[in-house]
Amino acid sequence: MTHAVKYHPGIPLLEQYVEGTLEADVALAVSAHIDLCPHCQQLCLDLSAEQGLMLEKSAPAAELDATDLDQMLADIMAQPQWNGRELNTQPQGPVQVQLKDKTFTVPRALARLVEQQTKWTQLGSIANAKLPAGDKRHVSLLYIDKDTAIPQHTHKGLEITLVLSGRIVDEKGSYGVGDILINTPDDTHTPRTLPDEDCLCLSVLSAPLQFNKGITRLLNPLQHLFY
C-alpha cells in the first residue's frame, strides 16, 4: 500500500472493539479501518493478547457444578472435529462494488453486507447505498462526486466516516483511503471532495446513547508525530 493511513481510532475505541463491547455499527467501521491499516492490525493483536492473558490469569468461577462440567466435556469430545471448508466461514478479502460505470473495492469487513445488498439512491452528485446492517442501523456506502460538499445534517450520535476510495478535505485536514473521521454533534466542519477526484466512504450514524460514558479520545492522530 503506497498510502499511509493517518487518522486512526483512539486506543479506547480499539480496546472496546477488541473486548467486543463496542456497539456493532461503530465496531464495523473500526473493523473496516483495521482491514486497511497495518498499524491498527498490530495494535489489535497486542490488545487481544492482553485480554487473553487476563483470562488466563483470572480466577475460576466460584460456584461450579463439577458434574455439569464433566457432562459438557464428554458431550464436546463426542463431536467430530472440523476439517476443510467448514472451518472458515468468513469473507476472506475485499470485494468490488459497482456504481454505474465505476468499480470500487471495499474492505473485507463490509464484504458480506455489500454482497447481500447494494442499491444506490442518487441525489445530485451524491449516491447512497444503505447496507443491510439491521433495523435502526444507519450504515451506508456514500459516493460523492468530485468538487462536492458533503451535506450537513443534524444527528445526536456519532458520525463516522471512513474513506474507502479517493479523498475528502475539511478545515482540519485531508483524508485518504483508510482514514477515519469521527464527528460528535458539536462538530461543525464541512467536508468536501477535491475539484478533480471523487470519493467513496463508509458512513455510520450511531445511536445517541452509546457514548454516555464518554470516550476521552476518539481519534489517534498519529500524523502529528510522524508526518
Binding site: A61, E63, L225
Partner: protein
C-alpha cells in the same frame, strides 16, 4: 512540533540505536509460542488428543464461566457461552497458529465472538452485523514496517518518560526496564517471566498510549 521520525533519519547511526531494547531483524522474527496450553492445543489439533483437551477444558472452562457470569449476570447464559466456546476450541483446534499468538489469546477471541453473537441473537430487534464481519480470523498480508520503533531512544526517553506513570501497570513495568534500565527485550522477558512476544506487544501498546499523551500535552 515534535518530529521524532525526522530526527532519527538525520542521525541514522547513533549509538542509541544499538542500545538494548531497540528492535533488530532477528528480534522481529515471529515467535512460535511453546507453552503448556499451546502444546496442548497442537495435540488436540493433530491427534484429537482427549487428555490434552481435558486439561485445557478443566483450566479454561471455569475461568470462562466466571467471565460469562460477569458479562451476562446469568448462570444459564454463562454456561451456554462456555459450552459454545469450548466446543469451538475442540472443533477448530487446527486453526490455532502458535506463530500468531498464545493459546489464551485464541481462546479469548473465540469466547468474545460467541458472546457477541449470543447477545445479537437475543436482541429483539434485527441486527445483522456478525462476529464474522467484525473480527478477521486470518492473517493480514505482511506490510512494510512503518518504522515506528526505529526512533532515537535517547530523545524518546526524554520526552516519554514523564508520561510512564499514566500507563497501565504491566506496560509501565516493561517500559521502565527497557527504556530507563536499558535492558534487552529478552532480559525483560526472563526477569518478568513473560513471553518475549508479550514484552514486545506491551512496548507497542505503551508507545501508542504515550503518543496520545504527548499529543494531549500539546493541544
Amino acid at each position: 512540533m515534535l518530529n521524532l521520525a525526522s530526527t532519527q533519519r538525520h542521525d541514522g547511526t547513533t549509538p542509541a540505536q544499538r542500545e538494548p531494547g531497540m528492535s533488530t531483524n532477528d528480534e522481529n522474527a515471529p515467535e512460535i509460542r511453546t507453552g503448556q496450553w499451546e502444546d496442548a492445543l497442537s495435540f488436540v489439533a493433530v491427534h484429537q488428543d482427549k487428555a490434552a483437551y481435558s486439561e485445557l477444558f478443566s483450566y479454561f472452562a471455569p475461568r470462562l464461566k466466571a467471565f460469562g457470569m460477569k458479562m451476562f449476570g446469568n448462570e444459564q447464559q454463562a454456561l451456554e457461552m462456555v459450552q459454545d466456546t469450548m466446543l469451538n476450541v475442540w472443533r477448530k483446534a487446527r486453526l490455532f497458529d502458535p506463530s500468531r499468538g498464545c493459546a489464551s489469546t485464541w481462546i479469548f477471541t473465540i469466547a468474545r465472538n460467541v458472546r457477541f453473537d449470543m447477545l445479537r441473537k437475543k436482541q429483539s430487534r434485527k441486527d445483522d452485523i456478525s462476529a464474522d464481519d467484525l473480527w478477521y480470523d486470518g492473517n493480514y498480508p505482511e506490510q512494510e514496517d512503518s518504522g515506528s520503533h526505529q526512533w532515537d531512544t535517547v530523545l524518546m526517553t526524554e520526552k516519554l518518560a514523564p508520561h510512564f506513570d499514566r500507563l497501565p501497570e504491566a506496560q509501565r513495568l516493561v517500559m521502565v526496564k527497557v527504556y530507563l534500565e536499558e535492558k534487552s527485550h529478552q532480559e525483560v522477558s526472563d526477569e518478568l517471566a513473560i513471553p518475549l512476544g508479550t514484552v514486545k506487544s506491551r512496548i507497542r501498546l505503551a508507545l501508542d498510549r504515550l503518543r496520545e499523551a504527548l499529543d494531549d500535552t500539546r493541544s
